[in-house]
């Protein structure tokens, strides 16, 4: 548990803007040391930011998806690691709110009253991007379940008070039933097997974990057994849009930084700033254009009628959102790559923010939904080929 919380604020974007300056100043240090930005998380909790998506009737801010994404984008432009570390929390609550139930109500209380922070874990070694096939086992025991398995990329774990994770029960026919749990971080039963040490997003605390007879009370189950994939698909816009907003924020930060620096740089061979060089202008134009395309794609997805889309075709909705996330993150990566070229060699220096952005934005290409799985599903869906049919391919 972190610190006492302020009442939830309904202006999450303004709050993110207020906090961004301080977070930007700390970003280089945490990136260099690979340390977790706990003081940033404390400030987000204390300011009420972390309650933004808790429903208003439970004391939260009731932020819309657009507010959430704009706020996360703003934070990410300053410190992408902090934004990503709290992303499972801020969008996860909204997804859980869509499911409801005792686990959700309990979570709201913890967040609003006690400043609890959620970290999430759906990725597992050997599963790749196929999160709907968890290998973590949930075994029924009196009063709850024992969870055993491994989790990777458990982003935000150092700050977590509540763990939102997937596991699989086994039904009467011996088939796996994917299920979600939202459980307090235990004293025993969850062990860090690998401290996060990576080239990018170094300050996200995305540790690897072993779940070893981790007891979860029955009332901490989210939704019904077997319903996890459908539940996730119904709320997927919260997940994939917020993911995309973080990486779009990095691109925005890189664009603003590059523009600011070129407007102030001079060379001995020029009587004006390098902003007047056509090569710089053309690359900045590419950055600006690709940024605009990415931003438009994200916010069109944000403003879509999600309820109608889910009702009409839940898988189609999941695919549309997955296509968006991959397109936005690809364009964001291109924007930052161009930024490196505009800035030149100085961008490679360890003290320059661009090299951190460059390493961070790559993660957008790698986080779920996996780009190959998205392409497979998107292509099959468009071609009228059953997405889950076996064999997957013929020829």
């Amino acid at each position: 548990m972190t610190t006492t919380t302020a009442p939830a604020r309904t202006d999450a974007v303004a709050l993110a803007t207020e906090l961004a300056g301080t977070f930007a100043e700390r970003a280089a240090g945490h990136d260099r040391d690979g340390s977790f930005p706990q003081e940033n998380i404390d400030e987000l909790v204390a300011s009420g930011y972390m309650s933004m998506t808790v429903p208003p009737e439970h004391g939260g801010g009731g932020a819309s998806l657009e507010e959430l994404c704009r706020a996360q984008q703003t934070l990410a432009a300053a410190c992408a690691n902090t934004a990503f570390a709290v992303n499972m929390h801020v969008h996860g609550i909204a997804m859980i709110a869509g499911i409801g139930g005792e686990a959700a109500t309990r979570a709201y209380r913890s967040i609003v009253d006690d400043g609890a922070v959620i970290a999430g874990g759906f990725s597992e070694p050997g599963v790749g991007g196929n999160w709907w096939h968890p290998t973590t086992k949930a075994e029924p025991v009196p009063g709850g379940y024992l969870l055993n398995g491994r989790k990777g990329f458990f982003t935000g774990f150092p700050a977590a008070d509540l763990l939102f994770l997937s596991a699989a029960l086994t039904d009467d026919r011996g088939l796996p039933q994917p299920v979600g749990f939202l459980a307090p971080k235990p004293e025993r039963g969850v062990r860090v097997t690998g401290e996060w040490d990576a080239a990018g997003m170094r300050a996200t605390g995305s540790h690897s974990l072993a779940l070893e007879d981790f007891f979860v009370p029955a009332d901490r189950m989210v939704g019904e057994p077997g319903a996890l994939p459908l539940m996730f698909m119904q709320g997927v816009h919260w997940a994939w849009c917020s993911f995309a907003s973080v990486f779009l924020g990095i691109a925005r930060g890189a664009l603003d930084l590059v523009v600011r620096e070129q407007r102030g740089r001079t060379l001995h061979v020029l009587d004006r700033t390098v902003a007047h060089l056509p090569g710089v202008q053309f690359r900045v134009a590419e950055m600006r254009t690709r940024y605009a395309a990415a931003e438009a794609h994200l916010y069109q997805a944000v403003r879509a009628d999600h309820d109608d889309a889910v009702a009409a075709d839940p898988l189609g909705h999941y695919i549309e959102m997955s296509v968006m996330k991959n397109s936005v993150c690809r364009l964001a990566h291109e924007v930052v790559t161009l930024a490196m070229q505009v800035q030149g060699g100085s961008a490679l220096l360890s003290g320059h923010p661009l090299q951190r952005m460059y390493r961070d934005v790559v993660a957008g290409l790698l986080v779920p939904p996996n780009s190959d799985v998205t392409a497979e599903w998107s292509g099959k869906h468009a071609l009228g080929v059953p997405v889950f049919a076996e064999p997957r391919w013929e020829g």
Binding site: H276, M287, T289, A292, A296, S327, A375
Partner: protein
């Protein structure tokens, strides 16, 4: 004939009907395109159908009994028509840009004359590219000399798209007034298509968009009235800049429509198709991934055009920055559309190379997108300079 009656109550229904009509026409145009593309025959029948359907009149102002289509609605109609025939869509785009962008700030006389004519089935063409001007059509080589209470125009214009169907022209020229330095000497005149003084010097024969009738025309001692002047003397470049969104977004719409049709053709060509070696081509991962790439590109382009056609339409006070902003969807979409069409061509395979294939026609048509104003180089210059806080119209242009 032909303007759609509009009331607030029925506007949505009218819009749905317009869309459905456009879809029906697109299918008809597609069939005609197969017959006429290689011959490069002008899409005269299609333009006639568009006039008959009321689609050419969608921009007539409400107070004149018109539908007063928004910019976004214009782009949506153009996307549909482009799915049937790129040449028709591009020819219509010129008319749509002129009628959509000129609803406001015109002299009252010109406005009344223009939209009464359009309501009654007029088709307006605006040849803006002059001999030697390249894409910089605010610097025309056509000259307008004052004579009496009017002007006499002389010059050579290229790419007079839709000329054969035109009932009216918007003609640009540079006033030879000593006190007006280029580009502020630019003037535009709205005239009925003249019987004399305009002559086709080179009929259109194009690798791309071959059915647009984009002839080269000579203006020889063409007399126009002072009342034909569309904008106040000396201010035409500013009025044009404040309307750049219409040109850029409508052009982008045509090429997005073409790209979308290419995608549909690739999917249609693949679904249910087998070869001696493969039972179902749609189950090949290479095909699936190519379709996914196109789908992703189309979704991004759709979002970008929708965003700009709805939220980037008011010029504001900084006109050069506004023009730069309007370049963004045109630049992105016309170039991305080429990638989509190339991918669709790959999916369709060797059969697409056959003479007269639809994908081959689209592949040729889509080549025109990046070449239209603002060209890629000019777009990059404007967007880049504006982003870097440099006025795109500042001179000298380079260090």
């Amino acid at each position: 004939m032909t303007a759609v009656e509009s009331t607030p109550v029925t506007r949505d229904a009218q819009w749905q009907e317009l869309r459905a009509t456009a879809q029906e026409l697109a299918e008809k145009f597609s069939a005609r395109s197969e017959q006429n593309y290689d011959r490069g025959e002008f899409v005269a029948d299609n333009i006639r159908d568009l006039i008959e359907s009321g689609i050419t009149a969608v921009n007539v102002p409400e107070e004149m009994g018109g539908f007063e289509a928004t910019l976004e609605e214009n782009t949506l109609l153009l996307r549909i028509i482009a799915g049937g025939c790129g040449s028709t869509a591009f020819t219509l785009a010129i008319h749509a840009v002129l009628t959509g962008s000129m609803r406001s700030d015109l002299s009252a006389a010109v406005r009344e004359r223009m939209f009464s004519a359009v309501r009654d089935g007029a088709f307006i063409v605006g040849p803006f590219t002059d001999e030697g001007s390249g894409g910089n059509w605010v610097r025309p080589s056509t000259v307008a000399r004052r004579e009496g209470d009017g002007f006499v125009l002389d010059g050579l214009k290229h790419f007079a798209t839709g000329f054969d169907a035109a009932t009216h022209l918007v003609v640009t020229a540079g006033l030879d007034d000593a006190h007006l330095e280029p580009p502020f000497n630019l003037a535009a005149f709205f005239v009925e298509k003249p019987e004399q003084g305009v002559e086709v010097t080179a009929p259109w024969s194009g690798f791309a968009l071959p059915m647009t009738g984009s002839h080269s025309i000579a203006l020889t001692s063409l007399h126009v009235s002072a009342d034909d002047s569309v904008f106040p003397d000396g201010l035409t470049p500013l009025f044009v800049m404040a309307r750049q969104q219409w040109g850029h977004y409508c052009f982008a719409a045509v090429f997005l429509g073409l790209a979308h049709r290419a995608y549909e053709l690739a999917v249609e060509r693949t679904r249910g198709r087998s070869t001696t070696a493969v039972a179902d081509l749609a189950k090949l991962p290479g095909i699936q991934f190519a379709v996914a790439r196109m789908r992703s590109s189309l979704a991004t382009m759709d979002a970008l055009l929708t965003e700009y056609a709805t939220r980037h339409v008011d010029a504001g006070d900084d006109l050069p920055a506004f023009v730069a902003d309007t370049c963004i969807p045109k630049y992105f979409i016309t170039n991305e559309a080429e990638h989509v069409v190339a991918t669709a061509f790959e999916v369709i395979g060797g059969s697409g190379i056959r003479e007269g294939s639809r994908i081959g026609q689209i592949w040729r048509d889509v080549k025109a997108g990046p070449l239209l104003p603002f060209t890629n180089d000019l777009a990059r210059e404007y967007i880049g300079k504006a982003a870097l806080g440099i006025s795109p119209v500042e001179t000298p242009r380079w260090v």
